[in-house]
């Protein structure tokens, strides 16, 4: 899916966060990127496909990624789950394993249904995303610009894997641009 950048003049050209995000993930020695794709994650997925250390894992549904991340940690490896906001609803019961076992968990979620969304079918889940995560005990950081997405992801990875925390970073639709129809 192509996304049209319709934000500030700076953000029309500023996609540096996509590369920077990959470097942050490299810095934290993340092993696996389980994902259900979104255009906002396309760069990260394609960079990981070419990387010798980070392995992308394509999922059929997002909750597989919660279980996979937990298993990988049981075996000593780190994952970051990539999904879009619509996938959060699919994850709700599976998130219970994180609170029961206190598994470290980081997910990067590209937002739909909030800013300049054409497809109204994306709106209910997009609007409920943060509430659903918080109601299951996941800490939520909402990133609206390049600096925030880099800082929040770096902080989330540090906190999660140093002390078993569960953190979601939401990449706002303002940051990733709206989908072109």
């Amino acid at each position: 899916m192509k996304r049209l950048k319709l934000n500030t003049k700076k953000e029309l050209t500023d996609t540096s966060w996509e590369n920077n995000l990959f470097n942050i993930i490299k810095k934290h020695k993340i092993n696996f990127l389980p994902y259900v794709p979104d255009a906002g994650h396309a760069k990260l997925i394609s960079l990981s496909e070419k990387d010798n250390f980070i392995k992308p894992i394509v999922l059929t549904t997002e909750e597989e990624g919660i279980a996979f991340s937990s298993g990988a940690w049981l075996g000593g490896k780190k994952s970051v789950l990539l999904m879009q906001s619509s996938g959060v609803g699919n994850c709700i019961n599976m998130l219970s394993i994180l609170s029961n076992c206190n598994f470290p968990f980081v997910t990067l979620i590209t937002m739909r249904g909030e800013f300049g969304e054409f497809n109204s079918w994306q709106v209910p889940m997009g609007q409920a995303t943060q509430t659903c995560l918080e109601s299951m005990g996941v800490v939520v950081h909402r990133a609206s610009n390049s600096t925030e997405v880099e800082n929040f992801t770096d902080a989330a990875l540090y906190s999660a894997f140093s002390s078993d925390q569960q953190i979601a970073v939401l990449l706002s639709q303002k940051l990733i641009g709206r989908k072109e129809w």
């Binding site: 696996f32 894992i57 999922l59 279980a67 991340s69 049981l74 000593g76």
Partner: protein, 196 residues
């Protein structure tokens, strides 16, 4: 199902798999499979699920991919496997050699009052695994079939799938600890990892 058929018994099956496990890690799905694995002997290398229905096979995949030299056996029920049926496709993509998925298929949701599951209506889990590119996928009805499966335990040339048709009768519950943090920590120690 055939009338008067002599079904394999779940506790016998699981005890034998456990006897053949070697250094394999075992992940058990909620309900009876967790009780069966615990009943065969508690072990720090067992990770028992009490919830997160549909996630057992994917937890197994995570452990297996984190440690490609360590065999991993997932033991779960037909209902739990059906809830995470897409994970068979995900495992088929990754082709972990060290992973076996064993379903104890009684055709019922045993924990909730024995409602029939899809496998009682002709859905064949081993064919789904086969179509998902598992290296070997077995339908197991008899002791002979089961003995053949044991040749692939612990798994080395997987992914392996075993659809074991079992007696629907539920033995007495045999309950492991519920504490998820303790289950996680002891499992990680068994892999040689640090815990918080």
């Amino acid at each position: 199902m055939v009338k008067n058929k002599i079904y394999l018994k779940r506790r016998d099956i699981v005890s034998q798999i456990v006897a053949y496990r070697g250094n394999a890690k075992i992940i058990s799905g909620l309900g009876s499979p967790t009780y069966d694995v615990y009943n065969a002997g508690d072990n720090d290398s067992n990770f028992y699920l009490w919830g997160a229905m549909g996630g057992t096979a994917m937890i197994g995949l995570g452990v297996a991919m984190a440690n490609p030299n360590l065999p991993v056996i997932v033991i779960t029920g037909d209902g739990e496997m059906l809830m995470g049926i897409g994970s068979l496709a995900t495992i088929g993509v990754q082709q972990p050699k060290n992973l076996a998925i064993i379903t104890l298929n009684n055709g019922y949701y045993g924990e909730t009052g024995m409602q029939k599951s899809h496998t009682s209506f002709g859905v064949e889990l081993n064919k789904i695994a086969e179509a998902s590119n598992f290296k070997k996928s077995f339908l197991i009805n008899t002791n002979n079939d089961f003995n053949n499966l044991l040749n692939y335990i612990p798994p080395k040339n997987g992914p392996i799938f075993g659809n074991i048709i079992i007696d629907p009768q539920n033995p007495l519950r045999s309950l492991p600890i519920l504490d998820g943090v303790e289950l996680k920590n002891r499992f990680r120690k068994s892999v040689g990892l640090k815990v918080l």
